[in-house]
Symmetry: C2
Subunit: 292 residues, 2 copies
């Protein structure tokens, strides 16, 4: 399913619908910022030292989170969060708070002050040449990455389907449904689309710093064979874990290139560590036509 | 339950929550009008020649309704509407439409144009001396009517409880739970709090023009006695029918002074017609302390 920018914005706002004050604050911010250059997400999960937390609004371009504090509704850390969700690392991000008070004019003053602050942050970012206007269309477009020519983890490349990621990587295939492909373009590389959440057969995860992948095969009869096979594949893995974005849509984000840690792995757990290659050259090919 | 103005506004907006575009349009209008002088209601039922319709937003001070037209969601007339609801007569009211299109900037342009139009209507109304800023606090305050000194149907007086209405009328009582009181202040008057919706015992209603009340007693053994009693009461009835406002709260609004139509009534149906007294002097007394 492909959403238009309008649908995306409307759905982000709709996520606040069950919480009336949140809906009021978020809509006032959105309508008074009054620009489609600034991306916003609502109810974004972020990593915390002791679990995960939800921030009410997140402006990724300026790394600003907005928390809406309702009296008597203290926010809880979530420990048993669904690991399938897209959870971002918010280290060094800024948090601003809106305190819900009983006066609507006082509340409006707070929100309008925050709007001014956000506008000043964006102006500063533009003045520094660091501001990249929100280009909704390119976010999940493999052709954007193909024409850019490289994937860098820091640019947060992501794809809606395995097929899109495969074809960005030059596989030139018509269907994508497997979790593991031998790369046609990059010698001694595989494309890997793991699930970093527990399922029937696997319990795989990536460390919070993004540098180590743990792979646990839960079916003991298969674990030994898998371990032996992994030791044999002395290749580099281009890793696109599956996750669910904050509107509930599937995505595969590029998390880097990993190599099997032959020394530290065991039948119980195979480990992969990130190579310090932070980018990967995309297939130089003419844009491909996505299947709908 | 008494809502603050902030709670009232938040709840009006919250009513749009299940409809994402409605929520977007209403919040943009509210935030860009950016005034608490202008009252708005969402999802207001209005009378139509062939039934009832719902308008998405209603600004009573300038008698303007806003309809948000989503493609493929044609609005239906409602014929079997719950008569307990507060349904307004919108004759001579203006309707403006917002058409949901696929472009968010085009949608914003439409809404911002409507904001300008509303502001110009309010300015004109202020210039004419006709604009009365929204005073939330006085809307259901019996002391407001007491100090004003009179009730007029056209001013839309309304009360949250029978007690409030009784004491505004000088009953000086501590509890109000009956539907019929002999007036202590106005000779040969009764206070009547009827239900204009069908219930176990009665099926009473008021005509669309507000001039005739029909009273049908559904319990045949009681109907004759009731008819005889009504014929005997050759008094004036000060009528405050019970209804439910658009947030689901009970209210009693003043609908005028009615007299039994002795000639047209029968055992089957007692009729009351409005006296051409459009106002009623409130009790001249010091403000009373409402029971919470």
């Amino acid at each position: 399913m492909k959403l238009t920018k309008q649908e995306f914005i409307i759905r982000q706002i709709a996520k606040t619908n069950k919480k009336n004050f949140e809906n009021y604050v978020v809509t006032r911010l959105v309508h008074s910022l009054n620009t489609d250059e600034v991306k916003f997400l609502t109810q974004q999960y972020v990593k915390r030292p002791n679990g995960h937390a939800l921030t009410d609004m997140y402006l990724p371009q300026i790394k600003l989170h907005i928390e809406i504090d309702e009296p008597f509704h203290e926010k809880q850390l979530v420990n048993d969060l669904d690991r399938e969700l897209d959870i971002i690392n918010a280290t060094n991000h800024e948090i601003r708070r809106i305190k819900i008070t009983n006066s609507i004019s006082e509340l409006n003053n707070q929100i309008d002050g925050l709007t001014q602050y956000i506008n000043s942050r964006i102006s500063a970012s533009k003045a520094n040449g660091n501001f990249k206007p929100w280009n909704y269309g390119e976010e999940f477009d493999p052709n954007f990455w193909i024409s850019k020519g490289e994937l860098r983890v820091e640019d947060n490349p992501k794809f809606r389907t395995i097929l899109d990621a495969c074809n960005c990587m030059g596989q030139n295939t018509k269907s994508g449904y497997r979790a593991f492909y031998t790369s046609k373009q990059f010698e001694n590389h595989h494309l890997w689309f793991p699930k970093f959440f527990e399922n029937k057969e696997w319990d795989n995860s990536i460390s919070d710093d993004g540098l180590t992948i743990k792979e646990i095969c839960k079916i003991s009869e298969k674990a030994e064979n898998h371990y032996k096979r992994s030791m044999k594949y002395d290749s580099l893995r281009i890793v696109f874990p599956k996750s669910i974005d904050n509107l509930g849509f599937r995505m595969y984000s590029f998390k880097g290139i990993f190599k099997t840690d032959l020394g530290a792995s065991s039948v119980e757990m195979v480990l992969y560590t990130e190579e310090l290659i932070q980018r990967l050259m995309c297939q130089k090919m003419s844009p491909y036509n996505k299947h709908k």
